[in-house]
């Protein structure tokens, strides 16, 4: 019988780690700046998921506060990048 802890450790977290590695390839390769911006946004979003799984695994519910802050930072970062990329075209 597989326990839920082992399932989180050996299935869920490796899937999320592989996802972050795949997005990192796009972050390095992306032909334009906007590709890198959405890759960074996706990395932060997957980071929220990893923090959630880690807080389930270690029974530390305080870690969910970090996830709230990360969600806020991802939104503000994307909005700031797109604002300045759009302004850059006018000059």
């Amino acid at each position: 019988m597989i326990t839920l802890e082992a399932y989180f450790d050996y299935v869920i977290l490796p899937i999320l780690a592989i996802s972050v590695m795949l997005v990192f390839i796009r972050l390095f390769r992306g032909p334009a700046v906007v590709d890198r911006v959405i890759a960074l946004d996706l990395i932060i979003t997957i980071g929220i998921g990893i923090i959630t799984v880690y807080s389930i695994r270690t029974h530390q519910k305080v870690l969910l506060d970090v996830a709230i802050i990360l969600a806020l930072i991802a939104f503000l970062g994307t909005v700031a990048f797109s604002y300045y990329i759009e302004k850059q075209k006018d000059d």
Partner: protein, 139 residues
């Protein structure tokens, strides 16, 4: 019983995050990458947070999880629309298999306002739209 529910929810969440990252790597175009990323990653993280809300029998964790899901659902489309608009203004080419570009000529170049009927150029100008001619332009 509750362990089976947790296993199903976390598997669905992790798989949709994996599909989002495969999509951002394999899709041929910036706009298709954006379309894949936003929806699938929001769904995946939302499912993982529901998992945490079920796992901890505590009101504070449930409130935090609902707050994060609500915030993600509210902000992800706004951020995606802003970055897609910025990409369209900076002339990121569309995929070469794109059939129609309905936004072409609809944006005012000076004021960045969207117009429903363009008065400066007719809507059926072929070849002037920003669709890539080769596969490697948008790779």
């Amino acid at each position: 019983m509750i362990e089976i529910i947790l296993a199903i929810l976390s598997t669905a969440g992790a798989l949709s995050i994996l599909f989002a990252s495969i999509g951002i790597l394999r899709m041929p175009d910036f706009y298709l990458r954006l379309s894949v990323t936003v929806k699938a990653s929001t769904l995946g993280v939302g499912l993982l947070l529901i998992c945490a809300a079920i796992m901890f029998p505590d009101v504070s964790v449930t409130t935090k999880a609902i707050a994060i899901i609500f915030f993600l659902i509210i902000t992800a489309p706004v951020a995606a629309h802003m970055i897609g608009r910025a990409a369209y203004f900076t002339d990121i080419p569309l995929w070469k298999g794109t059939i129609v570009d309905e936004l072409h000529g609809m944006y005012n170049e000076d004021t960045h306002e969207l117009e429903s009927t363009p008065d400066n150029l007719p809507p059926d100008t072929d070849g002037d739209s920003n669709i890539a001619t080769t596969e490697s332009e948008t790779k």
